[in-house]
Symmetry: C2
Subunit: 89 residues, 2 copies
Amino acid sequence: MLFSVQVEVSLREGVADPQGATIERSLPHLGFDGVKGVRVGKAIRFAIEAADEGAARAEVEDLCQRFLTNPVIEDSTVTITAADAAQGS
Amino acid sequence: MLFSVQVEVSLREGVADPQGATIERSLPHLGFDGVKGVRVGKAIRFAIEAADEGAARAEVEDLCQRFLTNPVIEDSTVTITAADAAQGS
């Protein structure tokens, strides 16, 4: 079965996020008030072929640990949905 | 009211994604087969103060158009949830 996967890689709490801080500092100059706590992470999407959702999740978690994230400073959130219906395969 | 916002900024279909292509090419060497269509975008999270969810969404959409995305090559997906309960404010 084919699964659609979204992995959100975010910096752990307490880790400095200069990109987010820069966005937050710029917003009042553009007329956007009331925005705070800006954090910028990565959104990685892909399709994975696996026997079932459990197998897909296990492989994606392993992939996150070994390759997609730096576990010292980053967390990952995995969302998996069956893609067969959408793709018709 | 305070709202938690997640903005996913992704490259439009057809726009080259060298970062995603590099990840995809590397995976078989690490023992991950069956992964395809890797696309890398940005996941931006922040909190916004607004009168209601409609007002929050309008401001965030405007923010995406003017600042967070390059509309020529990028799409944005906005998810808004009420944050008051979680933050107790």
